[in-house]
């Protein structure tokens, strides 16, 4: 079954993205892959005590993200009868979403607009902006 990948972060635009994707998936008979990416870089600087607890911390982060972001997003489309799979990953949001889209052969990607300030976007760019530029499949950005 073809897959629509939805990136969620618990924000209002991301809720709307979820509903939008669900509607399309329902019409086209697609499956939803709901992903939340916890921002993580392998190049940060930590204290030894942080490193010692990192593994258990990762599990806690995944559990919290699953309960607070992914599960509510899936609950939104519960009644639509669309097959849904939820995932929590660590990494850079853009890289993880692109890798998953390739890995799962996604038909398209849906994300909410992040609503960062212009200054922030000018300096760092935004996740949807980067996805639009780099994704191998069409990307829909929901306001």
């Amino acid at each position: 079954m073809s897959v629509v990948l939805v990136g969620v972060d618990g924000s209002d635009p991301s809720r709307r993205a979820m509903l939008f994707a669900c509607e399309r998936a329902q019409q086209l008979g697609f499956e939803l892959l709901v992903v939340h990416v916890i921002h993580w870089s392998p190049y940060s600087f930590n204290t030894p005590a942080e490193n010692e607890r990192r593994h258990s911390q990762k599990q806690l982060e995944i559990k919290a993200a699953q309960e607070q972001v992914v599960d509510p997003a899936i609950a939104l489309v519960d009644e639509a009868g669309v097959p849904v799979e939820g995932l929590v990953r660590h990494g850079h949001p853009v890289d993880v979403i692109l890798d998953l889209a390739r890995e799962r052969d996604a038909e398209y990607i849906v994300v909410g607009r992040t609503g960062d300030s212009r200054m922030r976007q000018a300096v760092f760019g935004s996740t949807p902006g980067h996805l639009v530029q780099l994704a191998p499949v069409p990307v829909t950005v929901v306001p």
């Binding site: 916890i38 993580w40 392998p42 190049y43 940060s44 600087f45 930590n46 204290t47 030894p48 005590a49 942080e50 490193n51 010692e52 607890r53 990192r54 593994h55 258990s56 990762k58 599990q59 982060e61 995944i62 990953r89 660590h90 990494g91 993880v96 890798d99």
Partner: protein, 492 residues
Amino acid sequence: MSAGAPVTPLAVDDRISDLVTPLSDFVVSIVFYSVPVFGTELPLIVAWLVCAAVFFTGYLGFQNIRGFKHALDLVRGRYSDPDDHGEVSHFQALATAVSGTVGLGNIAGVAVAISLGGPGATFWMIAAGFLGMSTKMAECTLGVKYRHEHADGTVSGGPMYYLRDGIARLGRPRLGKFLAAFFAVCCIGGAIGAGNMFQSNQATAQIINVTGGEDSPVGDLRFVIGLLFAIAVGLVIIGGIKSIAKVTEKIVPFMAVLYVTACLIVIFGNAGAVPTAFGEIVSGAFSPDGIAGGFVGVLIVGFQRAAFSNEAGIGSASIAHSAVRTKEPATEGFVALLEPFIDTIVICTMTALTIVITGAWNDPDAGDLDGVNLTSRAFESVLPWFPNVLAIAVVLFAFSTMISWSYYGMKATGYLFGDNATAELAFKFVFCTFTVIGAAMSLDPVIGFSDSMLFAMSIANLIGLYLLARVLKAEVVGYLGRVRTGEFARVK
């Protein structure tokens, strides 16, 4: 303190020195037991470290050269399984270990080496750094191999565990337990000495130096500066104020880059003097003028300061490296060999070139300047404002080293007392007390005590490495085989 007899702060400093100096001298006389060689004294402990470094360099087949590129690939994440995202990466484990070792050893230690052994000491420091890469690889591979994962997902690793469990598997459990306990006791001493007193002592010296030297308004208040350090360290390690540690961890890499850049400015500013400086370093290494014991004397000074700076063979970094998430213990060994490279071959050489090029070590009063002050003088001659920045860098390096070492000491305490929280807390209070004592004392007894405890760690650690050498080699050879066959393959 009685109310009738007011005690001046200076007297407090002197009293602390008087009290601790005899103890320090006693420990030094044991650990640095020396034998006369070619007219100079060779501390056996230095020979012990050099022999191990030479042995493991040969035994592991010169991985410090052959494995260098592979080590860089591992740090760049080219072999990292995407499932391990969110865990401690090779880079993070290396960065944490490096921030524990890069510090005053690189700034003050090099100055001490050059003032004692002339420019030639630099040559032997670099040589020691190069050989030390192999020892570091050995101890970090074993650290990951025998680490303990607790039920709550936290990990404890380091020499205590490979000494106890690794040697037990060779059928010598009592020997293993003894060595592990010996290591842990010395590690607590090393944490308090080198990882704490030496750091607060030199950071205090630098603060006094930039605020006016002998006329400094805080010159007589060393213990007050020490108290402030102790409070800052206490807030992090006892109070759990993570934000202070976080800020330090962010600023320290920046300071390291700033420090190296400043060295490069001095070096390029005097580019014409670089060949002469290298000439002095090489000729001074083999035929020094006026150094007791000639070339052996310089070699000893160089190796001793390098070992103090990069801690190869001491076993401390193995505790930090053990936190990495990997199925292949040897990967962390390869990554760890970069540590002495960064610490000694790159940063110490920079400091040494700066001191030699500016001729600061040759000033008539250079002998009166201790540690950091000599490095500071070298920078001042080219960048007059730099001593202030150096003081900030020194304070931050010292602080991050203290945080790292308090952790090593705490793990050693935890090992000895079965992860007893009260014992660990008691250690933290003792640690902070010695932060104050270290700041109040003069350099000589501090450096003597620091070196002794640090080097004593290597006695148990290296016996363990020799005993486990075959296990280590099997691990490394097996791993290299899996890399060759593609079983352990690059992911990008």
